[in-house]
Subunit: 207 residues, 4 copies
DNA sequence: GATGAATGAGTGTTCATTCAT
DNA sequence: AATGAATGAACACTCATTCAT
């Protein structure tokens, strides 16, 4: 794992915010330098180039999204409860890292930059495996239906959140959420519970 | 409704592809001009500016997404069948307009440009109303559960698709889809059926 | 003398105002076309080019500044009265044609354009000759001093006016002139009388 | 007072010449860069923009036109001699700064740019005060006539020079001045003495 | 190790003019 | 006779990056 010094981390944090708000191409290194209160040349000096800064940022953020889940599954709780827990955890994590998710969503969709997304793929694969093991467990217990397309569950969880987040102002209006705190609460409570209900309905009842 | 001539439409189509592939800021007017085989000055000449070209593009595409649904609901089919139909229709439409959805997803998420998204909001509101009326019908017939958060259904439908599309190369690999046709077929069959199953499970069984 | 049609004259008038206000290089043919409510192509069509429009404008305006003076000097009035009259006439004429003078002042000072200023030179030479004949008359009568540098009299008359006009806002403030009418009146009365007094003092008393 | 480095001064000098010769709008930053043998980007880099370069130039030049006069008036010479000195000084100064005067004359006459001309106004006001004090002194001594419109004296001095300078080629021809040195000498000797004679005639004899 | 100075390439836009009709 | 459509060239400016210090 690469170690970053204080100034590098400052740059990374500023860059993350700006890349999320303005897009990668919409952000200039001067913007970053100004907001991070460092010299323009520093970005190239520390990270090599603007593009490599993005790469460093992705690595930096995704290394955070490690395997903090595993311990949860030591607990002896029912598969249904595990599903509830994992969904709540996912949504919480995406919400905490929404800037990064926003950047990735955009970057992954363009053909412009060839960034090494291995780390991100690894995280996704890991998540998928956990989900698969829980569902297998539920199916073995006869609680979940067979023939569940597990690969299509993360899109429901992540996609729902991202879609709402991308259309935030529309949903703020639609759902009558007046403050940022209202929004946060809606994500944590209403959206989470909605997604849990949805996934569980699929797992338990659909045929 | 604004009419565009042949060359303007050519420019709009080229711009749509490039904006989707490279992002708005990642696309130069020279790129557009070169690909559309027109003079650089034509973009300003026809649309006023790069930004107004985007605006024209949004209007141009969204005006397509009219009310083609309504007639479906004249038919005397069950609410469940209507849900199936509307989901298939939505996914098909987003898939056909995926470039525009990709552009909008990005543009809506950045704070950079102030574009008039009224038309897009109107489409979303219209969709929501249709969905609400179907669900109301199902609830009145006792087929659907009460207390359905209708506002959160489009995020599941659209979000799932967009998420897969944004992470296309990851899912091509994961789902072992080798050709573009395979991908198209997966969207039309597997994803659609998965989302239909999911939504119906939620509507019918969840409590 | 070239004849201009109605639209051409409209263009010339608009161009004169704009060239005076914004400078030749600061005025675009589109500005002219818009203000004259004609097609952009018309400027090239009627005048050949933007530069030739300027040339046409100069000719058009200067042909106005003909020999309207001569008759004045038929009158049997004293040389001093003639000086008064000619100065008043000059200032009045420059004031009426101040847009053109402003344009010429600028154009003559730049090396950019090679315009045929023959007509303007002819007017200046003609003015000078009149002045010379009056002064000769006064000197012959012993009223004016000998050794008057006649060539340097027009600079005093024209230069004073132009300098004030160019620094209009400064002098409006300094001289406490509140309206456009105040300014006009100051030019016609105070400035004119001041210049008359100055020139006459030079002619009569200086040695 | 802002300090400029060597290259900035080089740019300022080149810009001054070009703005005077070709006008502000007639000069491109590329012209300036080429003549100053610097990169185009440097103009923006050093001055922010083309317009700010002009502003910097005005400030740079006008800060030169300080209060170098005052000491002259410590001397115990007659008001008439003071008038001679101040006129010679003014003409000399305008002549030295004729490029800047040319630029200002043009810029002040157009409505295009909003530049801070405070410094220039201050110089003019200062000049006017000096002139007023000398004339007051002469009037107190009974040497000068009362009722002198002091505000209209600078227009005679400056206007005469500027008018000749603007119509330089006409006057070169008229006054049979063959070389640049002839012109310089004519300004320093003949024009200066002519203006001195004129102003003094007005001050001493006019009523 | 860190940075101010500098730059070539590229940005979106406007320009005066041409040309087919 | 008159013009809408079109364009190559030029515009002022910003970009990410380099390099001497």
């Amino acid at each position: 794992m690469i170690e970053f010094n204080e100034k590098q981390i400052e740059i990374l944090q500023v860059a993350e915010q700006l890349f999320a708000d303005e897009g990668f191409d919409g952000t200039s290194v001067r913007d970053i330098a100004k907001n991070a209160q460092v010299n323009v040349a520093m970005i190239s000096y520390y990270f090599g180039s603007k593009e490599k800064l993005l790469e460093a940022l992705v690595v930096y953020r995704i290394s955070d999204m490690g395997l903090q889940l595993e311990h949860l599954f030591q607990e002896s709780i029912s598969p249904i409860e595990k599903i509830d827990k994992i969904i709540a955890f996912y949504i919480q994590r995406i919400n905490s890292n929404r800037c990064m998710y926003q950047i990735l969503h955009y970057e992954l969709s363009t053909k412009k930059r060839e960034i090494n997304y291995e780390a991100f793929t690894a995280v996704k694969n890991n998540n998928l495996k956990l989900l698969q093991s829980i569902i297998k467990e539920g199916q073995d217990q006869g609680v979940f239906q067979p023939n569940i397309n597990v690969a299509l569950l993360p899109p429901i969880i992540i996609g729902s959140f991202i879609h709402i987040h991308m259309n935030k102002s529309y949903y703020l209006d639609l759902l009558n959420l007046k403050t940022e705190a209202d929004y946060e609460q809606y994500i944590t409570n209403d959206l989470t519970s909605h997604v849990q209900k949805t996934i569980k309905a699929l797992l338990v009842y659909a045929n």
